[in-house]
């Protein structure tokens, strides 16, 4: 039991999520030797990839002889538990995953999918990166982003508040505000 606890403590997982999308170029980028070596060098022990509708299946590894343990799956009804137990999250640019990760105060690298037709998603990732809430990368710059990242430079995101919008709706409709 004590050993299992010890194991859990020393476990530092990188969780990769693409949501319901197909984002093979991200999974491929994460699965490269240089990225995996860099993550291991930075002290991460496990790499767990949620690969969505993608067809590229990363090579699993048990993590013997001094390398990352790699595992993957397609979907889960809730990724909250995975996010919670992760030490670093690498995510697609969907606003759902971004804000769920930020709310859990986990270090986050958002990778923008450049193959999407209407690529407005980069707007959000870039804005939040500019405000230092996360790191923003492309599949081809992921390795460099990981190598250069300084987790200490990240500023925790203050969750928004819907109350002011509700207040305006109420006053427009003449409802009492309480």
């Amino acid at each position: 039991m004590a050993e299992a606890d010890e194991d859990l403590k020393s476990r530092r997982t990188v969780f990769v999520t693409v949501g319901t999308t197909c984002f093979d170029s991200l999974v491929r980028a994460v699965d490269t030797q240089e990225v995996k070596e860099e993550l291991f060098k930075k002290g991460y022990t496990h790499l767990l990839i949620q690969m969505g509708r993608g067809s590229y299946i990363p090579a699993k590894s048990t993590g013997e002889n001094g390398s990352l343990e790699v595992d993957c799956f397609t979907f889960s009804s809730s990724i909250t538990d995975y996010l919670r137990s992760a030490s670093l999250v690498i995510s697609h640019a969907g606003s759902g995953s971004i804000f769920e990760t930020l709310r859990l105060q986990k270090p986050l690298i958002v990778v923008v999918n450049e193959d999407l037709m209407d690529n407005h998603q980069s707007e959000l990732a870039e804005e939040l990166a500019e405000r230092k809430h996360l790191f923003c990368a492309r599949p081809q710059t992921l390795y460099q982003t990981i190598a250069d990242m300084d987790l200490g430079s990240l500023i925790p995101y203050q969750p928004g508040d819907a109350a002011p919008v509700a207040k305006l709706l109420n006053s427009f409709l003449g409802f009492p505000d309480d």
């Binding site: 949501g19 319901t20 969907g94 606003s95 759902g96 971004i98 804000f99 769920e100 407005h120 998603q121 707007e123 959000l124 870039e126 804005e127 969750p159 928004g160 508040d161 819907a162 109350a163 002011p164 919008v165 509700a166 207040k167 305006l168 709706l169 109420n170 006053s171 427009f172 409709l173 003449g174 409802f175 009492p176 309480d178």
Partner: protein, 234 residues
């Protein structure tokens, strides 16, 4: 005498038709301008306090999460009954709304059982569908939207981004012009839009179909002055 008679007769049936068409169009234009003007005005004091039936248009993933954050702070008993609509291909969003409604029920935030209804709507275009086949599917989606709107005739419409809200808002606007139902249309632009409005928001803003439009980033407020910026939902 003869001359003036001729003059009277010169108003031929065809020019009468033309005149009445022009008159009709002018009347409609005046009506539309009046509707747009009145839409920007708050609800009149006399009708206050009565609860308003509310249509909530849900999008996928991130959109729904934003809407849920807003719904959580609204006075449930003022916005009742609530009708949730999501795309027929999106089961997750309605499920999340159902979970939300039952959590309100168990917390006592909602008084009556059955004050919420859940519906699906055909989408005019799926991601990746070709533009040619989407003409047919758009017509089907429009007919379906009209059918739903006739059934619901909501007093309030809340939407935050998915394209599915456009036919519903357009029909609600036409209902306003025809005097069938007055709906207050609120649109909250998705938090994912930082520098440019989505096509849905742009349409509702430019055609002045949304009574009030909210954006979640100050950059957009400075570009679109009639929009409101009062912080973020997420």
């Amino acid at each position: 005498m003869e001359n003036s008679n001729n003059h009277c007769l010169s108003i031929t049936p065809s020019s009468l038709v033309l005149l009445s068409i022009i008159g009709f169009i002018t009347l409609i234009l005046i009506r539309v301008l009046y509707i747009i003007h009145r839409s920007s005005q708050p609800r009149s004091a006399s009708s206050q306090q009565k609860p308003l039936s509310t249509l909530i248009v849900l999008g996928s993933g991130g959109h729904t999460a934003e809407m849920i954050n807003l719904l959580n702070v609204l006075q449930k008993n003022s916005f009742t009954p609530r009708y949730y609509i999501a795309a027929a291909t999106d089961n997750m969003s309605l499920q999340k709304a159902q979970v939300l409604e039952s959590s309100w029920l168990s917390e006592g935030g909602v008084e009556e059982v059955g004050s919420a209804k859940f519906m699906q709507i055909y989408r005019s275009r799926e991601v990746g569908q070709s533009y040619i086949t989407s003409v047919g599917t758009t017509l089907i989606a429009l007919a379906h939207a009209l059918w739903l709107m006739i059934k619901i005739r909501p007093h309030v419409i809340l939407c935050n981004g998915p394209g599915t809200c456009i036919p519903l808002c357009a029909i609600a606007f036409i209902f306003k012009i025809l005097g069938i139902r007055w709906s207050y249309i609120f649109y909250v632009e998705s938090i994912a839009r930082v520098r440019r409005l989505s096509l849905s928001a742009l349409l509702l803003y430019k055609l002045r179909m949304a009574d009030q439009l909210f954006v979640q980033w100050p950059q957009l407020k400075s570009k679109y002055h009639r929009a409101h910026y009062v912080g973020r939902l997420m």
